[in-house]
Symmetry: D2
């Protein structure tokens, strides 16, 4: 299934070396969980069923407006990106879908692309449209906005691009369209805050109308950047009101880095789910703004608390609960393959910890207003080192126990550095 990627023998060989330690740790943890009446294998099973998509653009080095520092062997085409995403999934066994971005990933034959992906073990996840950049040859500019533009022609172009994305997505087997617009303003007064929102609603309504019956339209809000005074869809409030206006197929997507400082994101997750509008996540981490750092690298406890809400939501919502999960990071200082493997690992570990919470004890303490007991119910689960569970799930599916070591051993990047065209310097914009 994963032809031409990393040799399965190498994985097996590295795993053989790591197996004894893993088994020992897994057994010890199993005994510990047994004492709490938790069957470790059931948790491992849940982790085995868990997956998160990776974005094609995340396979390349990211950067800032100041600079981008490419690495040798970095992929520059959708074909090379699929290959690298194949390696990620081959080693972590948790990222079987890629999320493409158009026009960046445009090809002539999408059926062929779908087969190419399948050949490296991948399917396609949510389609991402792009109306925040101008493309060569484009007739209208997004300089003053896209779906909320004052220009009919600009809005029409943006709508048509999104509808084209749906069409491509159908060919690729996707069923979600993620709409993020950078529309907004840099000066007080630059835009009419209400009329621009109304124009957005009207335009996104046209996209919604073109959505196949089993598709979702995911609205992604963002507080700021590229707009630095106001953004049309700046917060979850604007997002959910727009989603309500559109209808049941419209839902809200939460990017962890798109919020105001100090905001309680797990409560936003709970609220969106309470109103039936929790559509999905872009996982990453941040300390300052939309830093797009590796998931859980800055605040792993927050990630756990979000999964705690997701586990609650899953229990309360039943089969209707199927949020779309994607990693969305900018890998400015690491090898993107390493970052995405370890991020998937961290996300899965957060889910595993949330599954380990003694919910009966938690709910009981909540009812009794025993704040300490309720908190400790969460904290006990958070403290548990679930590394063996996630590694076990991975290894059983054919992945690598020690992903970084195995990947580095494989010499993948060095080999690609020989084969692939060199990326030019990213000199930055300002």
């Amino acid at each position: 299934m994963t032809h031409g990627l990393i040799s399965d023998e190498l994985i097996a060989e590295r795993n053989a070396r790591a197996r004894a330690a893993l088994d020992e740790d897994y057994a010890a943890l199993g005994k510990q969980l047994d004492r709490a009446d938790i069957a470790i294998d059931s948790i491992t099973q849940s982790i085995s069923s868990f997956s998160v998509a990776v974005p094609t653009w995340g396979a390349g080095r990211g950067g800032t407006r100041f600079a981008k520092f490419p690495i040798p062997g970095e992929p520059t085409t959708i074909h090379e990106k699929l290959e690298d995403c194949g390696v990620i999934n081959q080693l972590c066994r948790m990222t079987p879908r890629v999320s493409p971005h158009f026009p960046w990933d445009k090809v002539a034959d999408y059926q062929a692309l779908r087969e190419e992906a399948a050949a490296v073990g991948l399917g396609f996840d949510a389609i991402n449209s792009n109306t925040f950049q101008d493309q060569p040859g484009q007739s209208q500019s997004y300089a003053s906005g896209s779906l909320s533009s004052t220009s009919d022609a600009v809005r029409q172009q943006a709508v048509e691009h999104n509808i084209e994305c749906i069409d491509i997505g159908r060919q690729l087997g996707a069923s979600d369209l993620t709409v993020w617009v950078g529309d907004g303003s840099n000066f007080p007064g630059q835009q009419d805050l209400t009329r621009s929102f109304d124009r957005y609603l009207e335009a996104v309504g046209l996209i919604y109308a073109a959505l196949p019956g089993d598709w979702r339209l995911l609205i992604e809000h963002k507080m700021f950047e590229p707009a630095f005074y106001s953004s049309v869809i700046s917060d979850w409030g604007s997002s959910i009101l727009a989603a309500q206006e559109l209808g049941p197929k419209a839902q809200c997507l939460v990017d962890l880095g798109h919020h105001a400082p100090n905001v309680n994101i797990e409560q936003i997750v709970a609220r969106l789910n309470r109103f039936g509008k929790l559509g999905g996540f872009h996982f990453n981490d941040s300390k300052y703004g939309d830093d797009d750092l590796d998931s859980g690298s800055i605040n792993p406890h927050q990630l756990f608390l979000i999964f705690n809400e997701l586990v609650e939501a899953e229990r309360n919502s039943g089969s209707s609960f199927r949020p779309s999960y994607m990693i969305d990071q900018s890998h400015n200082v690491t090898d993107p393959i390493e970052s995405m493997m370890m991020s998937a690992d961290c996300i899965a570990a957060s889910y595993a910890k949330a599954l380990l919470v003694d919910r009966a004890a938690l709910h009981d303490a909540q009812e009794r207003n025993d704040a300490m007991a309720a908190f400790q119910a969460l904290r006990r689960a958070y403290n548990i080192d679930v590394t063996p569970i996630v590694a076990k799930a991975r290894a059983e599916a054919g992945g690598a126990i020690d992903m970084i070591a195995t990947y580095r051993d494989s010499g993948w990047r060095q080999r690609k550095a020989q084969e692939r065209q060199r990326v030019g310097l990213g000199a930055g914009i300002v």
Copy 2:
């Protein structure tokens, strides 16, 4: 009408001294505005019609959890507070209503209280309920929440208190009930984020059901404090969703200090109005958290931008637009009478500046995406010194041109320091 307050002769005498300069400045500004085809008297007329309520509790010195430093002559009863609020309105002529708080302002005879207020020129504005503190003799404690409590008895007590507030309000001639709850949690896990919101909705629904036909229920959100991990109604998103669930008489109240850092509050105002839920304001200013500083003292430009949205909203919404305006500040280092007079002045000045915006030019520039021209349309108005307009409106209504000087001349506080009981030391809580 304002018996026993500051002598009208003193006001007249001080005004006589200040009149010539005011007339000169007013005339000069009038000529400047004439060149822009604005009749200064029409703006002055709008300011004359403008009013903002003051809270009874604002008449006393405020403090922090660390300390409160009382001043001699500070009011300690609702009767003394009404007197001080009467002085505020006598001098600024813009605060003809007070907003009471229960149980703080409880009396035996509300009809008498209404007459007492009328005697110093005041009526009653929105009623504020209090379920964030325990009162002596209260059967249930709000230690673990009020409207969202897990205890049926606690929720019932909180609902009944609010319904009693409505009843008192009817006697006082009010028609708004402002509901702010401090409910929330200090620990992850302490409360179920969804169930607590559901309990809140159910309880506030009972209050809503008891609302007279011409009343509004104003929901006030707050990001944090007294709860430091999660708050049930923490942001405008939670607030508007609750208001939508309740029905048309429920609206959202914006306190300027209750938001996350960096948030664009004027856009929140625009969104709430767009969805018919802009119920009112608690005016104050802040640099860090809910600092409750004097309105416009930290960021007067933001206050102007909010009024710019309010003027837009008024034009678009017509007669249905009638948000409730109140000053809500904590006067920790000033004489509260001085702070509230100057705050009313600053709020009115922000409104005057917003009225001076060339809206045709603004909208035209917005349509053309001429960011600089649009911004300058706002900035030109903001730069104008509207002091003479607000002072003129005040003086014509019988108020003081120079409010601080007149107030200090009157010796009001020193006189009250002789008459009133001394406030005890506020030693703070931590």
Copy 3:
């Protein structure tokens, strides 16, 4: 040694029930660490040597300016507080010193107080002065500041109070004086930002001059509250410049909740240590402002990263490295004894994790700019569940393996609720 507190038999009995599980987990972790060439007992030994002080005022319920909700059995005198702190240390064996606050903890005979503390196993840590509140009978008011006041008499009173604190501290066996002032302003212009700092420097210099040779003066900075526009010692920059002006006995104290949003506190720790001015910590956690939540309850990863810097600093600085550690929290919704035990546990666990970092691997990766390897060196240690290590250290010293369960079993609070005087309602200030 801990007469009259919780019965040692109860602790032993509860421990007997928990011992087998602890031994099993400890052994399993020992085997895991062995594989990384770490002797678990050496880590346990370091934890056994670790201690953190608790503040006397933390033994009572805290609150906000809105309300305080007391609990039955809450201590109200220094004698009762010492008793409760004795229980904390009896169960956690990690908090053998209390940090008193004057005038709150004033008594007639400090030698007797010292013996009283010793009788429950406690000594005295840093003395905290208080010039942010007015006390009954005080001749000067701190309403307009203390050490930075424009009034000579006020500054003199504040200096004398601090010198009295030193004198009391000598009698109690302390050797640190922590100086936090709430001095600052609520309005632009209210204070001259430079002259107020100069007055502070002059006044604190007089305190410094009165310091015994082996004492330290710890300067505590805070961004805001009670002052909401400017604070005289608002950040680590002002703090270290003041400490440099004073001399070698002056150092900086870091309270984790006193910083601007998003700030990298661990880097501040590194900078202060780099310049020889890292004096100590007030441990707590926060999400919004100076929330004074339980240590590690919101962001345990940040606490780990701070201890990572402390371990680095200790290695680099040798015996001169002896920062003062104290818990400083406001226990608004929990039993303070439970919160402080669990906070000490979380702080010690963070230290244990920092000790588990493979520093050779970390430094090697840093030198090679291998960001992923460096990060994973930290993350591997952070992921380890060190609960057995801290519990083992505690149990070996006579403490309780399961502190909460043991404490609740003891019925301490219910017993005290019978014996102690009831606390009045804390109605809040605003």
Copy 4:
């Protein structure tokens, strides 16, 4: 002097149309100020003497990591940029110096460049070095830092580049070197927070040693971006400690957008000046992060408060007070010429308002702790519309009364759109 720029006749003609209104407003303001014993002409004189530099790179459109939207006629060479900066100064008469950036502005003959600048009325201000991007052909990469890099060769290259900048600066007549590094990390552990600072200190010390006797080295701190976990010089504390280590020629530069949320920047200005280290400013405005918006567009009151500190500092420091002032903005949605003219105008207006403060009244109120009177001393000055003063100073120097209208009338940009090479699409990095 300003050959080939905008025709002086056009300026004169437009001014003739605007003169009467200006004279009327100026006279009215003069009368108002007379009443406060302020001679308007003395303020106008101070504004005439005021200047602020503009950065060469600011003459082009800026952008974000997502996109850049060029405009027709945008300058792409240092020669075209000088021309545009000449126009700015021709119209506003307040920006007689440009601040170049290397290697962006490299030419073969700097003497010729100096003459070219002089021909359009310009001199050179602080030199900006660039070690945050890699240049084609550069031997070492700044991917892992520059002055703080772990690599000797990288640090040496960065030092040599800065020394080359000094050499170029001498030829251009400059006497300040501004050093901003993007050095930092994206992951906890990635860099040793202390060792990286030590390496920075050592490297910048080599640059300092190469500084001519009458030069200053300006250290610019920045909280985040491009590094998203830690930055080597992240705050004013790190900046001033580094400047102190270096010596008297090293000073600190304050960029208004480089601080944590909510921070009191005017107090930082006061502190830096108190310790003799206030080197200069990069003026801009921001709402979220380093937004680089037009000066005073978001928070004009903060800009006024900063100038209030600068006026205080000037009075206290005498002739030693000579901070370097520069506009540093990213013009993403406006014509850069318009933005820089209006920014200079807003900066000068803030200075004018600060000069209008009644300092005797302010200081007296501060001494008496009369917070309201002190605040009103500032607020009265802030409220004054100083537009006529700044316009008068400009017009008397030959600039345009209405800068935007005159500039647009001139057709400068349209003409340049014919002459200049088109800028390529800035497609952004992520």
